[in-house]
């Protein structure tokens, strides 16, 4: 059957049952909005985690009695590790100088203190492309097992919390995605089922005059696809304005402004629209299969 006829019949059906179709589209839009909320939250949380995570350094304190000649080989060993962007050696003297600079107004605090009392250390920057919280922890754990190392410090708790929170949000996004697909497909297929019930006579007549299942199902499938697409588009537009409103409020502070928060990418939005449309159509196809027997 030509696509033009399917379109014409689908639009006529939707016009005749306008209230039902609009209500269904609103339910799909609300479902998509839940998903979009979690997606934007997760996306920006990831960005924040990346941003702060990339600024995290691992500080490896070496044993005080480590012979000076072992330091270059140890330095090379650290540099050779995967995911290391840069390594800086901080000698005991330099560490003391930093302490002096920190107490520049209370220099008497350090009077009589041995300038070598602080251990030498390596300050390691993680490669930004390589960064994720799990990898930072793995590098730190490997370094702490080296015999020359006294202690390894990094924002462990912060990284661990961020990682578990990020995982929880990702799980929520996945759950809301499933919720979106199942709910949207369920709601749309049930609306279509009601429409099919209401039009049993018309469908019977169409069958008797030689309509194929494609001819009968086409407009229903197209209507459900349009509901899925329309609902998700409405959700994206609503979600975008809500996002803009919230961002305008929270970016009053410089810190939040510097986070450079973002809405969904065009590819992400397109995926939501298409997946919503296809799932609504698939739900309807399954519902119709039971109804439209010849």
């Amino acid at each position: 059957m030509p696509l033009g006829i399917i379109f014409k019949r689908a639009l006529r059906d939707m016009r005749q049952n306008l209230v039902t179709h609009v209500m269904t589209t609103i339910v799909v839009a609300l479902t998509c909005l839940v998903f979009i909320f979690f997606s934007v939250f997760s996306l920006n949380l990831q960005r924040i985690a990346d941003r702060f995570g990339k600024e995290l350094a691992i500080v490896v304190y070496l044993k005080k009695d480590l012979p000076q000649e072992k330091i270059p080989s140890l330095y090379q060993k650290v540099v050779a590790m995967e995911g290391i962007e840069s390594v800086r050696f901080v000698s005991s003297e330099e560490a003391f100088k930093r302490l002096e600079h920190y107490f520049k107004n209370e220099k008497e605090v350090l009077e009589g203190v041995d300038p070598l009392f602080l251990p030498p250390s390596f300050e390691i920057q993680i490669d930004r492309a390589f960064y994720n919280p799990g990898r930072v922890r793995s590098i730190a754990e490997r370094l702490s097992k080296w015999p020359e190392v006294q202690k390894v410090q990094y924002g462990k708790e912060w990284v661990d919390r961020l990682e578990s929170f990020s995982k929880a949000v990702q799980a929520a996004v996945a759950a809301s995605a499933i919720l979106l697909l199942v709910t949207a497909a369920f709601v749309v297929s049930n609306t279509i089922k009601l429409t099919v019930y209401a039009r049993q006579d018309e469908i019977e007549i169409m069958r008797l005059v030689g309509a194929t299942n494609g001819f009968i199902q086409g407009p229903f499938l197209l209507a459900s696809f349009l509901q899925g697409v329309g609902g998700s588009l409405a959700a994206i537009v609503t979600g975008f304005f809500c996002y803009e409103y919230v961002v305008n409020i929270i970016t009053q502070t410089e810190l939040v402004k510097s986070l450079n928060l973002q809405f969904l990418s065009p590819a992400h939005m397109l995926t939501i629209v298409l997946v919503s449309g296809v799932f609504c159509m698939a739900g309807t196809a399954m519902a119709l299969r039971r109804f439209l027997t010849l």
Binding site: P2, I205, M206, R207, L208, V209, T212, T293, L294
Partner: protein, 225 residues
């Protein structure tokens, strides 16, 4: 059947039983040749409608075989049934019209399923609606028409796609004498153009003075009058 003609409708030992022990058709043999005009009569409940329904595969026989235009119906897959129904125009006893749609929309339905282009479809619908005398009411909703007019819409829809076989189940049941004669004249015209026609009716006056073949269905058997 005219000797030597290939039957367009053929029933071989067709049985139709309903639980628990109702016999609608009992080993019926029948052959209707191309271009033939046949009346099927019998009392109410004799199985006339059942027989017609089996010819367009709305119902399955319990036994035997039905062959339409050389095709054994039991061999048809579900996807082939629409093709059969496009060959068989049916005028239903209860019209089966969409009452909230116009005459044009109802008649056009048979052509829409064929995927005809808009202008071609419109021209064909106008021509057929004109043929049944309803051109002035083309854009009226069916619900606004009288019973006789609705009957004519049902006829127009059945014949608009020019099917080679036309089945009519009590097509004049709701019509007065004048309209009944008009419908019969219309059927004659369609038959003259080559369509094979089978009219199921319990109204003897339709065929009393006819030269057409008349079949009577009684106790599940067919006898020729």
């Amino acid at each position: 059947m005219l000797s030597g003609d290939q039957p367009v409708i053929e029933l071989r030992q067709v049985k139709k039983r309903y639980a628990p022990d109702i016999v609608a058709l009992d080993e019926v043999d029948l052959a209707i040749s191309k271009g033939e005009f046949v009346f099927l009569t019998g009392p109410s409940g004799a199985g006339k409608s059942t027989l017609l329904r089996m010819l367009y595969k709305a119902e399955e026989p319990t036994g035997g075989s039905i062959i339409i235009d050389g095709v054994e119906l039991s061999s048809l897959s579900k996807s082939q049934i629409p093709q059969l129904r496009r060959k068989v125009g049916v005028i239903f006893q209860d019209f089966k019209l969409l009452f909230n749609r116009t005459v044009f929309e109802n008649v056009a339905l048979s052509l829409e399923v064929l995927g005809l282009k808009k202008d071609q479809l419109a021209a064909r619908v106008r021509q057929v609606v004109d043929g049944v005398g309803l051109s002035a009411k083309l854009h009226r909703k069916v619900v606004q028409l009288s019973g006789g007019e609705q009957q004519r819409v049902a006829i127009a829809r059945a014949v608009v796609n020019r099917p080679p076989i036309i089945l009519a189940d009590e097509p004049t049941g709701n019509l007065d004498r004048k309209r009944t004669m008009e419908v019969l004249a219309l059927m004659d015209e369609l038959n003259a153009r080559g369509a094979s026609i089978m009219i199921a009716t319990h109204d003897d006056s339709l065929f009393n003075n006819t030269h057409r073949r008349v079949l009577r269905l009684k106790d599940g058997k067919i006898e020729e009058l």
